[in-house]
Subunit: 251 residues, 2 copies
Amino acid sequence: DILSHGQYDTVYNFLSLVIASQLFTALFLLISLPRILPRYRQAITVAIIVCGIAAYHYFRIFDSFKEAFVTTSVGGTGDYTQAVGTGFNEGYRYVDWFLTVPLLLVELIAVLALARKVQSGLLMRLVPAAALMIALGYPGEISGENSLRIIFGLLSMIPFAYILYILFVQLSKSLTSQPASVRTTLSRLRYLLVISWIVYPIAYVLPLFNAGGGDAWVSKQVGYSVADIVAKAVYALIIFSVAKAKSYEDS
Amino acid sequence: DILSHGQYDTVYNFLSLVIASQLFTALFLLISLPRILPRYRQAITVAIIVCGIAAYHYFRIFDSFKEAFVTTSVGGTGDYTQAVGTGFNEGYRYVDWFLTVPLLLVELIAVLALARKVQSGLLMRLVPAAALMIALGYPGEISGENSLRIIFGLLSMIPFAYILYILFVQLSKSLTSQPASVRTTLSRLRYLLVISWIVYPIAYVLPLFNAGGGDAWVSKQVGYSVADIVAKAVYALIIFSVAKAKSYEDS
Ligand SMILES: CC1=C(/C=C/C(C)=C/C=C/C(C)=C/C=O)C(C)(C)CCC1
Ligand SMILES: CC1=C(/C=C/C(C)=C/C=C/C(C)=C/C=O)C(C)(C)CCC1
């Protein structure tokens, strides 16, 4: 792929935006942790870890991008071509998701502070499903063959559908036991989760429709960046506001 | 652009000054946080995050500057020209503002500790307006075309005017409910805000008047650096003094 100067800058600045968002969301939550009642700290601690892991991976992705595209123009104002001897590593994203997607579900369940048995029942189903979903997507993504992309994509859809079933059918019962002040926030949070998560399978199937070229590639990177900020940092801040409201209510 | 040795050093040292100012303002506030009553800690936490985000971006800006201008002179005493293969990334500033400008307004509203409803009403208007103002400025800045610069600049002025209206008309009512000891400080803080913020649209329109060349570029970088220190670090320290005075009064 060849990137114009504007395309290169757009990706570059979005990647840096994600680093700053994740890193300082983690820091904000770390500083604010003592203001939360101990029983909700588990949720916020997991949120800090998720944003921290994302920041780590985005530092790597940023460096990988900077190495993978080069220009010979003065002031970097010309076109950028792929470098000799190194490429952009999409794999970082899958490694990141493999760790963070299960943890995002842990975060949600933890802030509900359900009865121990209900909680572990939900986690035993959500966490392996999330890990399986990402693990199944990986071979489809890196193979570069359409047939494998389709097969593994379909397989990955099974745990994805299962997660949505648990969140929207099973979890609805537990939501009624939450304090009224946070019930709507929590219910809306699930929609934010679905809307931001759906970006990933959409980006996955795009190559099947021959959506190639610089513009498609740039859109994909920008789409991932925005989805990652919403699904991790914005999500964490909403979880934090729920934990704060519940802390206030309980004390 | 070509920079003389003196011009290069001036920018270099100002960028480093900003890093030190932001980083250690953040650190100072972090260490002082326990001395503030819990109800004002939110404001100071946001101030820490703002200065931290700025420090992150100035580290990046500093590195970008060092890579973008090079000299072949012994001891670096000659002229500096633009490097091959990389340029100075102004985009960092917009990424920074996109995150920090809304947060600067959150900081101000948080330290007032208004009734929950009044507070969320103000934030719901100020935060999106601030994000929109910066997002609209970005395409005008990077396009390099005067017509786009004018159109997006004018569009960006609309949320800017709206923010000033909220701060000076709507907020004035809330100021009367503040303790007498901080009322003048808070009122003056708004003027400091306007004076430091106005630097940015002025720097934005300068290229329209053909203010090119090394001197104009250096002035712009120095102007941004000073404005960033005033609008973030000095502003944070004033917010801190208000929070301390109110903590003292309340207890
Ligand atoms: C269904 C499906 C997928 C789902 C991916 C998801 C849902 C990823 C979520 C990532 C998140 C939430 C990241 C956090 O920031 C894959 C693996 C692309 C493969 C194709 C099928
Ligand atoms: C009105 C206007 C602008 C306003 C920018 C402002 C007000 C930036 C403030 C930045 C701050 C406060 C940084 C903190 O350190 C733009 C985007 C240049 C585009 C042209 C019109």
